[in-house]
Symmetry: C2
Subunit: 307 residues, 2 copies
């Protein structure tokens, strides 16, 4: 399994009915060679986010089985939720984790997209690295106006799906499939209640206003705790290491005499992202991930499973 | 397998004959549920150090098989090497890694010692946490005078083995078996060629001269590199975290205006030892090792194998 490892984070439009949620998650639990890491259902968003890793084949099998459940159980015509969506299976990204390139993940996304549409009858749009039209790189462009608008506009050539006829599935809408890098949700909490400090630092660090190229961020108040937060998505941790983000924020916060109170990795993180930062702080030169007992074991388990 | 995980680092008295080394290592490669992480043969020491992890049962099976090879192939009467030894299988420690306590590892050591002596005919001394006599906690006490002296002194009550008759095996000597904590070999290189700086800092940090309780250390010259090194064994990384050792040395080195050039983790390290230090430097509160993808996968693989 460790030989090549993909992550997928499928988003389904069901965050309330526990029986449906469990039925969608079941194939990921059941599938051999596929590891369910996390699943979170948000009733307000009415959305289920699953995090799963494994080799390309078993992941696709489980995704197809879960998608068939979602098509059967979810009707977008009656679905309401705070999160924008165009389909019962709204988004399926493939993320390279170990011993697999982005180019190979793009191939997986394209091949899976074909099979998905044939199996479910749901039309497919490709996004991010797997986008076939440059303007469809961003999820937001594809999802513009959500299900309710896309249902009407899908007949227009610029909104045609990449796979399937130019009409949505009558109850399951459409699905956005693609390949992207691993995304780390990372927050830095500051020892001040002044929201302006968090906003200014978020502005300084995020790529959209000229900061670090792979960081998205906003400033938030954590009112109950009397702190403020720079809340970030790190979309490429190899280009923008976590330690660099922490030290960048520490440096900016000095302008107001504000200290970092704590940081927060939200959700999953690959070992490599942490090892890189520990190497920086502890100045470990020539450290090999294979020196970490658990990673060495995982590598050997991968060898065994190959046979 | 991840459900409970032991490390063993058996030391065999053969560091030169590659066919014998390979024959000793083979059972660790072969045994299911047992993962050979590393093996290093040192011709000067004439000694082989194997690092292996797994569940208690398969580890013991592989250790017995490897020991039978060592008894057959190694004759202490003709063995010469720089490293002190009393047996063909000189030392076998059991180290708790995951989901197993030190008390359980002591039980494993005691049960294994019985079985080892019955299978090989080699008498056994217990050391460290598994010591049955308080003065035998330290390896050095048991190994005093090496094979050549112990062969004569073994008839004296204070040198009787813990298991077996009071005489050594005619060719394989005796074996020291025990339980201890995970040992991390950790070096800090300083940007100076002044050996006195490394010696003074080693003295300040090591437990034997009143420093940190779980650190052993000496100062060495790295002459080719124009640096000096504080070379350490961390015998309990939970009590003396790596970050604390780095920052302690950084603080001491300031006395001479000397900076840390680099640090070096030598050999294997458990993920927990690194995660603890990353939490310190990055101020990640409430970080759960289960958030690291690779550790989460390993935990699930453990569940599967239990069935």
């Amino acid at each position: 399994m460790a030989k090549s490892l993909i992550e997928s984070v499928p988003n389904f439009s069901e965050g309330r009915r526990t029986d449906v949620i469990e039925a969608i998650v079941a194939p990921f639990r059941r599938q051999k060679g596929c590891y369910l890491l996390d699943h979170r259902a948000d009733p307000d968003h009415n959305r289920l986010v699953v995090s799963v890793v494994g080799q390309a084949e078993p992941i696709q099998e489980a995704l197809l089985a879960a998608s068939l459940v979602a098509v059967e159980k979810i009707d977008l015509n009656t679905h309401r939720g705070a999160h924008p969506r165009i389909g019962a299976i709204d988004v399926i990204p493939f993320v390279p984790l170990r011993n697999i390139s982005m180019a190979e993940c793009v191939q997986v996304a394209h091949a899976f997209g074909q099979r998905f549409q044939q199996t479910t009858g749901v039309p497919v749009y490709f996004y991010e690295e797997a986008a076939l039209r440059p303007q469809r790189t961003a999820l937001e462009v594809i999802r513009k106006g959500q299900y309710e608008s896309l249902r009407l506009e899908v007949t227009q050539p610029e909104r045609h799906p990449d796979i399937g006829e130019p009409r949505l599935h009558p109850t399951a809408g459409a699905t956005i499939i693609g390949a992207r890098k691993f995304l780390i949700a990372f927050n830095v909490n500051l020892a001040t209640s002044n929201i302006e400090v968090a906003r200014q630092i978020a502005k300084a660090i995020r790529s959209s206003s000229g900061g670090l190229g792979s960081v998205k961020g906003i400033g938030l108040a954590l009112e109950e705790r009397g702190m403020v937060q720079v809340s970030m998505n790190v979309v490429d941790y190899e280009r923008n290491a976590l330690y660099r983000i922490v030290e960048f924020i520490r440096m900016e916060a000095r302008r107001w005499g504000v200290a970092i109170a704590e940081t927060e990795v939200y959700g999953m993180v690959p070992a490599a992202a942490l090892l890189d930062s520990i190497s920086y702080y502890m100045q470990t030169t020539q450290f090999d991930p294979g020196q970490v007992i658990e990673l060495a074991i995982l590598e050997q388990l991968g060898d065994e499973e190959k046979e």
